[in-house]
């Protein structure tokens, strides 16, 4: 059983592939999604039309999409930073949760202080909490060679359980004592809410701007600094890194911690920008961490591009919220994202190989 496809290794990568491949991937995902919708009795054209309208069609839609995009920009960066150096941290989800826990802690405690001070404290706490939670993964990997995929995933579930405990099953500091029948988080004082900016009449959350700045900083870190140089060599060949006298262990821990810190800031932004409480249920239903992996893959693991891709996927998610109902099933957005991830991964093949049809040789 020889496959009719034949892959031929490319010797060099044409530059055009950089933008061509993502486009082909998105196109293929749309086609596959359409097939699925047709099979389940939906009209794909109407569905896509409505997604575009309610995702990007108006200023309100754009505002909603940016809100949906902000957490994804952080989790997307979180995944991109580690994946591009061959560390598979899929713990963005849990690191985001823990960041939100830390940020809401200071946000609640400092509620009466000047806004700028509270915001700064929330960012720092989100960063510290998210970073520390991720550092656990890094230390286990660097010290014991523990598979980071599984540990980071287990920590996601544990962070979810921690959220449940804090809000539903205890009388913790985060829980609103007034919410007896239906437990909920304690709301942040309005002074601690993060400000929004307006550009061409579209509201932009502070978190989104922070994401852009962070994306640029990380890009600079990877492209232009000694740290970035070393991490790049470690990812390319751990042997060569050791040969050149680089400290592999600390770099692994540092990269994972950095990625977790960024996810943690995302959690802080979630509390400060949008929800203004520690929303245990809402955070777990959102699946930001997993969607972040899709974002990172589509951005081809570039931290800055992840912010851009997050807007696209955020629009899709936002449309999903807006349209949810009997005509637009909740799993559809996730399915489309999954398809996008598949086609993005498969698209990578195009950059490494030429695909040829196998010539059929007649056996004598």
């Amino acid at each position: 059983m020889r496959s009719p496809l034949r892959l031929e290794r490319r010797l060099s990568q044409p530059r055009s592939l950089r933008w061509l491949v993502p486009l082909i991937s998105i196109g293929a995902a749309l086609v596959l999604g359409s097939i699925l919708m047709l099979l389940t009795g939906k009209n794909p054209i109407t569905v896509f039309q409505r997604i575009v309208e309610s995702g990007f069609g108006s200023k309100t839609a754009l505002r909603g999409s940016l809100i949906a995009a902000t957490p994804l920009a952080f989790t997307g960066m979180c995944a991109a930073i580690t994946f591009r150096v061959g560390i598979i941290n899929i713990g963005g989800e849990g690191q985001f949760f823990v960041g939100a826990i830390g940020a809401s802690l200071v946000g609640l405690a400092l509620g009466g202080q000047p806004t700028a001070f509270t915001i700064f404290a929330m960012i720092v706490m989100g960063m510290l909490f998210g970073g520390a939670y991720a550092a656990l993964v890094g230390v286990l990997k660097a010290r014991f060679h523990t598979n980071e995929i599984i540990t980071s995933l287990m920590l996601n579930y544990l962070a979810g359980i921690l959220l449940n405990y804090l809000i539903f099953n205890s009388t913790s500091y985060w829980r609103d004592p007034r919410s007896i029948g239906f437990p909920a988080g304690k709301p942040l004082e309005a002074r601690a809410w993060w400000p929004k900016f307006e550009l061409f009449g579209v509201q932009i959350p502070l978190g989104f701007l922070i994401a852009i700045v962070l994306g640029s900083l990380v890009l600079f870190l990877y492209r232009r600094t000694r740290f970035g140089f070393e991490v790049g060599v470690i990812a390319d060949s751990p042997q060569a890194a050791r040969y050149a006298g680089m400290n592999t262990r600390w770099k692994i821990i540092a990269v994972v911690t950095l990625s977790g810190a960024i996810a943690g800031i995302g959690g802080a932004s979630d509390v400060g920008d949008f929800r203004h409480i520690l929303d245990a249920k809402g955070l777990q239903l959102a699946g930001y961490g997993y969607t972040g992996i899709v974002v990172a893959a589509l951005a081809r693991f570039s931290p800055l591009a992840a912010v851009g891709v997050a807007v696209v996927i955020g629009g899709l998610t936002n449309a999903g919220y807006a349209l949810q109902g009997p005509d637009f099933q909740s799993g559809l957005v996730g399915t489309l994202q999954g398809l996008l991830l598949f086609t993005a991964v498969a698209g990578e093949v195009l950059t490494r190989y030429r695909i040829r049809l196998r010539r059929t040789t007649t056996a004598s």
Partner: protein, 528 residues
């Protein structure tokens, strides 16, 4: 699938390959190769690295499908689409990098892939059959042993048994002596001759002229993917073969030195070093020696006797259990790469592309792989791209590296140019000591000459050179002194002028005789 009736051996010619063309992206590996091997002969396939020998044998064993050309076995034209086809047609291959499953037993490896009606494996029956076969060919090996426990020589025997078990009529051996001592190689040659006598066809792939002369009946020479010619071994000479192989006259002369070697003025002093290998077994056992200023010291030995580990200790990549070393009289903390770099140790590792270089990184990045930490390459932790590029352009020019530009990933360069990048970086740090592991392995003749020249030049400038090589000719032609490593120990220390191939060969096999012993007394006692 092809069942060749080898019983009806009315044909003189066992294998005939005509006009074989095989293209890979960017290269034509075989460009119309013609090849013919007779029944009952040992036929050598001679050529430099990259001449197309391996490609041709992979076509014959069904791993590659040729783009053009035909293959006939025993007079029948065949189209071999997979190794399975080739095996059932009676072609067996002993690969240079063994195709064995390390965690399996010898017997399991031998019966792997065999067509058999029995669903279950009867271990004892299989072992009995393997034992029978190994006695018949004098290829002693324990069928119950796990392959990873075997020595390299034993593993090779398993490879040969494997193809014999499958009833191969045509055996192809790809560079089989690379892992053997000269004496082990002689035993192998005897086995090959015996198999040819039985009516099998042995195709022997090599780039070493002496062994081709020693074992073959006829020789086909490949150069640049084309057949240069086929000659009777008896009517040719190493000199003629060399000319055919390289396309010009080759001289194997001792290199000419300009500088003086000063053994009494040591730059590297190694005392009583012991170290583990990756599995945690002792690989280097109580090794001591001295390399003088401008001296070239060779380390001979069959691969896997601790040479690689010794080089890694000196490069700082491997910690020691005991002992230590000094460079120019200053003690170096072992197991710290940066200490070794700082002390002035240049290290050319065996695995150039993945240890010595970061393969997917650009030429310019690789040229600063060891100096990126300091000014001027980085300032305040920020990498200075412009300086890196200027540095690269200069070294590319000085070392004549053939690359489209300095941003090209090194993995896209040819083997010779990869080695030039490494040498350029290591020499640009102005080292006191050079430790080079198999610096010319896998390179073509032109590149080999270039690398040797650069190393000798460094020695002329006063660098103390330690060359580790399995190629005895190389050591004999370059070094002032040869150390022989066996099972982690240095069991011989012979000035090159007194050294003979035979004596060093015996030492490589662990045999110390009265007159080969350790001439510079007091280094180590051989293990009994």
């Amino acid at each position: 699938m092809f069942e060749i009736n080898w019983g009806a051996m009315n044909q003189e010619v066992a294998v005939r390959m005509t006009g074989i063309v095989k293209r890979f992206p960017g290269v034509v590996a075989n460009d119309g190769v013609n090849f013919e091997a007779r029944v009952g002969e040992v036929h050598a396939l001679l050529g430099e690295n990259g001449a197309g020998k391996s490609t041709l044998s992979n076509v014959l064993t069904g791993l590659y499908r040729p783009d053009e050309g035909t293959t006939e076995l025993n007079g029948v034209q065949v189209s071999l689409a997979s190794p399975r086809d080739a095996l059932s047609a009676g072609i067996g291959m002993v690969h240079q990098h063994f195709r064995l499953v390390p965690t399996f037993t010898v017997a399991e490896n031998i019966v792997l892939g065999e067509k058999n009606k029995n669903l279950l494996i009867n271990a004892s029956e299989v072992c009995a059959r393997v034992e029978q076969l190994s006695t018949r060919y004098g290829l002693a090996v324990d069928p119950r042993a796990r392959v990873w426990q075997l020595s390299v020589g034993e593993q090779q025997r398993v490879e040969i048994l494997k193809v014999l078990y499958r009833g191969a009529k045509v055996l192809i051996l790809d560079e089989p002596t690379a892992v053997l001592t000269p004496q082990e190689a002689d035993t192998l040659f005897a086995t090959l001759r015996a198999m040819a006598k039985e009516g099998r066809t042995v195709i022997f792939i090599s780039h070493k002229l002496e062994e081709v002369m020693a074992v073959s009946d006829r020789v086909t020479v490949l150069r640049g993917g084309k057949t240069v010619g086929t000659v009777e071994t008896l009517s040719t000479s190493t000199r003629d073969l060399a000319r055919l192989m390289v396309g010009r006259e080759l001289v194997f002369d001792r290199v000419v030195r300009v500088g003086m070697s000063e053994p009494s003025n040591p730059v590297l002093e190694v005392s009583n070093i012991s170290a583990y290998d990756d599995r945690g077994n002792i690989a280097v056992a109580d090794v001591s020696f001295v390399v003088g200023r401008g001296e070239i010291v060779g380390v001979a030995g069959v691969s896997g006797n601790g040479q690689r580990e010794l080089a890694e200790v000196l490069g700082g990549m491997r910690p020691v259990i005991a002992g230590g070393f000094e460079v120019a009289g200053i003690k170096v903390t072992a197991g710290k790469v940066r200490q070794s770099i700082k002390a002035g140790v240049a290290h050319i590792p065996e695995d150039r592309l993945h240890t010595g270089l970061a393969a997917s990184h650009s030429v310019e990045d690789n040229l600063v792989l060891k100096s990126y930490r300091h000014k001027p390459v980085s300032k305040f932790s920020v990498i200075q791209r412009k300086i890196i590029r200027r540095h690269a352009v200069e070294l590319i020019e000085r070392y004549d590296v053939k690359t489209p530009d300095s941003a090209t990933p090194v993995r896209l360069l040819s083997g010779g140019n990869v080695q030039k990048v490494l040498l350029a970086r290591e020499f640009s740090a102005d080292p006191r000591v050079l430790v080079a592991a198999s610096p010319t392995r896998g390179l073509d003749v032109g590149a080999i000459e270039g690398v040797r020249k650069r190393i000798v030049e460094a020695a002329d400038r006063g660098v103390g050179v330690l060359i580790i090589s399995e190629d005895l000719e190389e050591l004999l032609s370059m070094s002032d002194r040869i150390l022989v490593m066996y099972e982690g120990r240095i069991i011989g220390d012979v000035p090159t002028v007194q050294a003979t191939r035979e004596a060093i060969g015996l030492l490589m096999g662990g045999i110390v005789t009265a007159n080969t012993g350790i001439s510079n007394a007091g280094i180590t006692e051989p293990q009994s």
